[in-house]
């Protein structure tokens, strides 16, 4: 893995912004992992630790009018798009002030104000939903685009093929982002994919398709920037496949290299290339210190909020079944 920066030298401002987001998500998820054994979070959590750079790189080029479509492994994209962190943690705690009022949990984060489309726990399901938002954007002339995140496993669901065809046919402003971490739960890609030619396949629908293998947040950002520019110009959908690696177990707070289905050796290059310290090294120590302190405070505040804010009333059960 090399940092093939396809994007020229990023400005200090960009590095700072990206570092802030990367660090924020990392610290937040580490805190989730730390708290989890207390059973305060009674919700299956799927951590993005190590994969944050995909969400951060893509969302940095989005605007408030744009949307992201997230998965059950959606903490990173939720935060990167500007979702309310306190509401997110409260949601994991099952509280009334949670972003879904305690009705979603970690797998169904949502923040309509920030443009975060709700996540789904049924893999692949949210892909066509994203295209529906893009269709609405076009009809309403908002100029907005939709970034649609999904995993390598999700790419096997027929609804991806159906959605790619429809989005290309209708020239919808959707940026498809496959976070290819090589596993679906414990099953490696080789047991699920006949070949690795996903990008090539997406391109046959007539959309630009790029495979980012560098693990470099700036390359992701550059690709996304280029894609979004083209999409706002009416160019139709773009496909990005981004190689990444899930450091923790599929669901839950721990590592699982002792389980035998993958070896720690796979992890090592990703740790060496971890974008969080990499970007820290590109900044003044004082800036890093300030950001780190800010981030720690923000995360602590979110958890403090979640701890204090009340549970729903049992009678709330009956709300929101119908609009």
């Amino acid at each position: 893995m090399q940092n093939a920066v396809a994007a020229g030298t990023p400005s200090l401002e960009t590095v700072t912004r990206l570092y802030h987001q990367l660090r924020l998500i990392r610290v937040l998820e580490e805190e989730v992992a730390r708290v989890y054994p207390t059973d305060k979070i009674k919700s299956p959590v799927h951590l993005s630790i190590g994969q944050e750079f995909v969400s951060v790189g893509v969302c940095d080029v989005l605007q408030p009018r744009d949307h992201v479509s997230i998965t059950y492994r959606g903490h990173a994209a939720y935060i990167a798009k500007g979702g309310d962190m306190a509401a997110m943690v409260a949601e994991m705690y099952g509280r009334k002030a949670g972003c879904a009022q305690g009705r979603g949990g970690s797998m169904h984060l949502v923040d309509s104000k920030a443009g975060v489309i709700g996540g789904s726990a049924v893999v692949g399901t949210s892909i066509p939903i994203a295209a529906g938002f893009a269709l609405a954007d076009r009809r309403k002339g908002t100029g907005g685009v939709v970034a649609c995140f999904f995993g390598d496993g999700a790419s096997e669901e027929g609804c991806l093929a159906e959605t790619l065809n429809f989005a290309a046919l209708q020239k919808l402003p959707v940026l498809f982002v496959c976070e290819n971490n090589g596993y679906a739960i414990h099953e490696p890609r080789a047991k699920r994919w006949a070949t690795d030619r996903l990008c090539e396949r997406a391109a046959t629908y007539g959309m630009p398709a790029h495979h980012v293998t560098s693990g470099d947040v700036f390359e992701v950002r550059a690709r996304a920037e280029e894609a979004v520019r083209a999409m706002r110009g009416g160019g139709g959908p773009v496909f990005l496949e981004v190689d990444c690696y899930r450091w923790q177990e599929h669901v839950g707070p721990n590592q699982d290299y002792d389980q035998g289905y993958r070896s720690q050796a796979e992890l090592i290059p990703w740790i060496e290339d971890d974008q969080v310290p990499r970007l820290a090294r590109m900044l003044d120590a004082s800036v890093v210190e300030r950001i780190d302190a800010e981030v720690r405070l923000a995360v602590a505040a979110a958890f403090a909020f979640a701890e204090e804010t009340p549970f729903p009333d049992p009678e709330d059960l009956y709300d929101h079944v119908y609009a």
Partner: protein
Amino acid sequence: MTTSTPEKGPNPGEGRLLRYVDALCEAFAQEMRRDESVFVFGLDVDDHKCIQGSTRGLLQEFGAERVFTTPLSEDAMTGVAIGAAMAGMRPVHTHIRMDFLLLCMNQLVNIAAKARYMYGGSVSVPLVVRSMIGKSWGQGAQHSQALHSMFMHVPGLKVVAPSNAHDVKGCMIAAIRDDNPVIFMEHRLLYPTEAYVPEAAYEVRPGKARVVAPGEDVTVVGISNMVVECLRARELLAEAGVSAEVIDPIWLAPLDIDTIVESARRTKRLVVADNGWTSCGASAEIVAQVLERAGDAGIAVKRIGFEPTTCPPSPVLEAKFYPNPGTVAATIHAMVRPKDAPWTPDPERTKLAYQTQFRGPF
């Protein structure tokens, strides 16, 4: 054939005599004029056949941005509709057979029904999913199913099955304006039937069943096209001295059970005739609800529906698969007059105009 004129609506009995299919089409046109966010899409809505005429003229008036066909991708297209609805549009997604909704169950049940709830009230899904129930002319196993009970099972969905031209217009307008996903069931054989339909837009909303014809001896609930068949059964029964009250629930979810309970308490007999299987069907639900409510009233109950088999295309088998006015009348007669000799009306007289005029394939 003219179905009994509905007594509800803004101007009861007023309007022109209109076919079911044209009333439906009028509902789309009026709502699309009223609200820019309404669009109609799905396989073949924009071809020259216009879904049997039900989308006639829409493409010309509203253009391809609001009236368009799709690839054969029912699953994803349902997701697209849901996404667009969450984003503030009001899509009407069309399927020429209800059987094809089986391809859409994940999106409809796991997302459309649940989105508002699982996203804590922060979104709504104002979506209408139209589908047509096929019947006869060898439609067979996969072009004949009425699957409303699967949707009635799931909180968050609304389900409606209008039986006449008046209601189909009012229900479609209500469904489009509803902020929830509505499963809208049309019946192919009802398309040419006529009723008086007001010209202006009006809603036939959830919450009120209609007593289509009064009676004393038995309460008969008909669903979708079975309302028409029950009305014919009622005429036949009248000749045999049995007086049947026929109720059309119109909306199946939410269901107006009060009207049915009230009637059944009076007649002490409840028959539910559905155009679908009875096991875990709408008929099971109606029977169970009535008896939970009025368990001590000694109400005898009976369900009528598809025979418990797959739908066969051979006309001989098809005839036995479906309930019809004759079998409905005979069943009711046996219930009301258990001691009399079994009675079956003359089969020739049980045929309905709206059926005999139908010629396939679609």
